[in-house]
Subunit: 388 residues, 4 copies
């Protein structure tokens, strides 16, 4: 396990937990509260929910006489685990002002202390695996914390700065050109000892035909060309649902972009800046990625092509949209109980993203990792890699 390798579980636990709080350090108390759209959760909620995970799945079942911190928190900080009781409606999270942020931090300290004691003597591999799952779960929420904070600040008319020096969209490609992969049978899915989520399991064979995949990601400059060529006005480039999405939402640019006095700017975590044409494009939906590829006369890679090519690609700055729908691998089956709700139930009407992003926590990236979002979502650090 990458998270634990050099350190052991207690230190891994400590590091991951600390990192969530480090992400929130620049926030004002008010920033912890709102849920501006259904898919963005309040930072306060992320901090509590990732704590609730350890309390509910580790401490309560494993520690004799464990005293639950507050029975109401189960109701408030459950996310989507129908197996663990009634949930707050997801869209209501932003109206729950109590417990306060301070109370949530107290909750963290309580659970952290209990966990620390519990981990001291923990050797049962099954429980260790569950703790590790909890840490990876918290890392997923760390990425969401960053993107949700960006959404909250980026939709404030004052465009507040999150943290000086943490721009996150200024990365550039290190390579150009295309990588060619020959036709044949390839192995897909996780193997080896390290951690992975259940949706990566089921190592299996796929048959790939010859293809070429770009070594670099699409840049802001290339995307501005698409925009200036009328890309958002030409229905021939768009999937039918994409065309409806563009028109119903009056989409004319990636998320966070603003045309000011004829020049493209975008909101970054350092505030509003001029768009850098050399930097890698971010914050586009699957619909936009597919339209751009169509305009280029190319296509998006499948997730299998991506996985095979990844060994020879420089990746990790953007989650990369693939043209693969999020579906189970052969042999996939849901684990029983709440943990089984983790991935399987989302395997419909979403597309797979591969890679990792600038917001991904250290030790959380893998070439077999399968991320997934709905086709219109773009508040993540998403990007485009072309194939042909």
């Amino acid at each position: 396990m990458q998270l634990m390798e050099a350190t052991g579980i207690r230190e891994a636990f400590h590091n991951v937990r600390k990192h969530s709080e480090h992400i929130c350090a620049p926030l004002e108390t008010e920033d912890y509260v709102p849920q501006p759209v259904a898919f963005v959760s309040p930072p306060k909620w992320h901090l509590a929910h990732s704590t609730w995970f350890f309390e509910t799945f580790i401490l309560k079942p494993q520690v004799p006489d464990y005293r639950v911190y507050d029975p109401d928190f189960n109701y408030l900080f459950n996310s989507y685990y129908n197996n663990v009781g009634e949930r707050t409606l997801r869209t209501d999270r932003g109206n729950v002002t109590r417990p306060t942020t301070q109370a949530v931090y107290a909750y963290r300290r309580y659970v952290d202390a209990q966990m620390d004691a519990f981990l001291e003597d923990l050797t049962d591999p099954e429980i260790l695996a569950l703790v590790e799952l909890g840490l990876h779960h918290e890392q997923q929420h760390q990425e969401l914390l960053i993107t949700d904070i960006k959404y909250i600040l980026g939709h404030n008319p004052l465009f507040p700065v999150y943290r000086k020096g943490q721009n996150m969209v200024d990365g550039r490609n290190t390579e150009t050109g295309f990588l060619a992969i020959p036709e044949g049978i390839y192995d897909i899915g996780h193997h080896g000892e390290g951690f992975c989520f259940d949706n990566e399991l089921g190592r299996h064979k796929v048959y790939l035909h010859d293809f070429e995949i770009a070594k670099g990601l699409v840049t802001n400059g290339e995307y501005i060309e698409f925009m200036e060529a009328g890309g958002y006005q030409d229905f021939n480039l768009w999937l039918d649902e994409g065309w409806s999405w563009v028109n119903q939402n009056h989409i004319t640019a990636p998320m966070y972009w603003h045309l000011i006095d004829g020049e493209w700017h975008y909101f970054t975590l350092e505030g509003l800046q001029k768009a850098d044409p050399e930097a890698i494009l971010s914050h586009i939906s699957f619909f936009e990625a597919a339209a751009f590829a169509q305009w280029k006369g190319m296509r998006l890679p499948t997730e299998f092509e991506w996985e095979i090519a990844s060994a020879n690609l420089d990746w990790g700055q953007r989650w990369e949209w693939t043209n693969s729908a999020y579906l189970p691998y052969p042999g996939f089956s849901k684990a029983p109980g709440a943990v089984g709700e983790y991935n399987g139930k989302f395997m419909v009407n979403q597309m797979v993203l591969r890679g990792a992003s600038v917001a991904t926590s250290p030790g959380h990236a893998r070439k077999t990792y399968r991320n997934f979002f709905h086709t219109h979502e773009r508040w993540q650090y998403t990007g485009i890699r072309l194939a042909r």
Copy 2:
């Protein structure tokens, strides 16, 4: 002017401004942020908006070389004055985490200091009247502060206590029976020297026919009888739009009521309590008021009947729904400019409420006061007085 009579404008200004902050004193920082529904505004917003009013309508036009505190605040804290530039969409207020609560208090202190200096020598009666309007405007927001805070806390699954000792729904009637008023011509509308809003002006005659009006308001106990008699299930009692409202929203009780183990409870500012059958009913919509009156074989009074009877009634605990639509008095005309947007543009599709409520600020009640809400709204301290 009631607010100023004994005190002068500076002290009145000081008192009103302090009272807003007194109302917010028990809040946690988080409570200042959310807007759970469109008609509830964040407490932070109320504090800033009432301050913005003085800056925009008094300081900017009257004080030479006045330095605006922050030009962005005009955009953020304008409410519905189309004449004063672009507004934040009303439903987005809950996502605006910056400026922080602390920054809003700093804004108040800045404007208060400027106003204090300005008021010292103020004698121009027109400007004095505008300051007075600003104070009454802030008092209106004080009432909204209380009811919006109740909404935010009352929809939190933890039912937090706002302030011990401030229950606000435990008042009882001091009188029973009916008051009879004879047929004749009566004078309606504000007269005399004191302050009033433009919608009360245009003293005019109306002809009233004989009527009787209840000396007391409907109690929780009487309303429970209506509920137990199947009032919410009998369409014959309801206006057609009321019946749709009941069914679409699954309404079975007043707002804040919960049936727990067969007993009615309601959320109060002191937390969840058993419903007191002797106390005066609160938090009902016009639709519910009209259905209850129909069930009783009576009706709601008109606003004119209420105004004439009020001299002999004990009123002031609840805003009382009348069966009068909110329309202009004869001779009403909108003032030019932003102040003219105050009342006139809302004179359609709302019903008049008369009286005042437990949440009304001291000195803000008048028998000619015309409050108005949509027929489904019930987060105010609304009540029912019957007529026949």
Copy 3:
């Protein structure tokens, strides 16, 4: 009773029933079917529903051994009488293709024959009054038939002609200037022997202040001036809900108006025509009427002013929006049972229109008639009369 005076009830029945079918004579079978918006009903439905009224309220209760034509029709052709069983959802009417139009005409013939026999010996004044109510009810649906047919054809891209020679919007004013009415006590509401609806009853006194009312209605030409002066872009002229309505629905002209090559046209029952600037304006909402009056520096009359002035006005071409909300007269009470659902339950959130229109059936107009619609509706032949 105007309908019966010279003729007796059988002939009145015969004439009214024939007139409904005369209105539908130019229709194709397809035109009888759709319900393009919730407030427009299929012509087939109007023909069946007005028949259902006689079957349900006269024949079933009064004729011994009466054989109901088809028990399903009660379910299908009830409109809003909750007391008479389950209703088809109003918005689903356009999908009910069976019974066919021909079957509905057969239903009419059956009920007409039964009614004809029943009326021969009818002398009971209470039942006579109910038959008369049924005839006035059918006349109300005749007006809706015309306006609903106009809506169906007027929203067809081919703009089909309904009936050559039946333009209906080419009428002009016969008088100009203003009529002055002195302050005083006036009597309002129906009196005398003739028929009226329950909402006109309760003859009572109102006190009116001095006012002047226009002798003519607003013309297309005057309204075009308002449009060209930017009336639809100036929020100061509009009620707040009106301004939202304009913006959400992108309203830029009255209903049925189209700007073609820089010239205003409108759909009439004779097809698309150039707007006649001398003709009386039609198809405007209350919001538009109020904004126009504001622009002129005048106002709309109240329904009481209108009723008193009407003796000296030339009226009857347009339903005229008043600034009175639709509310009960003093002493109004709902009749028990289904007939009591006729008017009372709609007395909220609608405005009163007075007069009658070119689509009103002969013998159906009265100066005490109170029509009412929601503030955004404009598919009736509505117009504007100014007051000051």
Copy 4:
């Protein structure tokens, strides 16, 4: 080409066109009009649209001096070809009463005569292929005609009979048990001379792992077991979006099913009937198919598994939901122009169905045929085949 093999293009054209009218023969004129939901089109529209296809893509470009039947029809009967001018909004089709049904039949006769003359000497293989595409297009609309007619009649409270003897849901399985397919590389996609749509092209290899596939489809009786075991109440069985769909739409049974006096009935084209437990289940969504498979501890096959197994399966009664998302085959590219809009732009957020149904026109079924619908749609004759 199956359609043409024994007959030649003129006879094939004649047969296909006649078949559309045969399907509509039992309809009343009124049945041709409505569009009860967005995905159901009026029968009148289907008849006109399939005619418009031949006029627009064959006659106009190929026949010199061709006189277009009516220029307005291009606007009215275009479906989704953005390349061929403005379209009627899809949800407005049910309000377009003119042209009448009779006029649409006249349009068919005109185009049929022109096509008949044109086909006499047609030898150009490219044009022949386009005519063939038009016939397959019309056959697709024939299937929609049947299912749309069922929807219109099946949502009429009178449950009218379409055609005696045409039940369409009484078919039974001829085989039971499972078919085993060994691991290996298989060829997928259309090959050979016959007609296919562009989405079937790009014959390519896939790697399949061992699997077993049911020889029979799920029956009503098996599905009733699922219902009685609480299948619609157990969130563990459902995809997350499926569970939302069940709850938001209060789904408790397949489409057209009604529980009457404790017994399951369904609407068929012969009217309402008792559900036959031995007959093959129909009218279920992908969500329901997936939940049922989960309950059985099995899964749905992929479209590739289905295609390989199909040679040894008895199929053709139901469109069978697969667990494959509708995506392009390797090498797929959109044809330029309007014909290129046929399939490619729908390749997102839909699932593939394989097979054919009782409503599929003769000669229209192929084992490589890829049908596709959204995951909640169920008005087609859809069914479930299990795999493991």
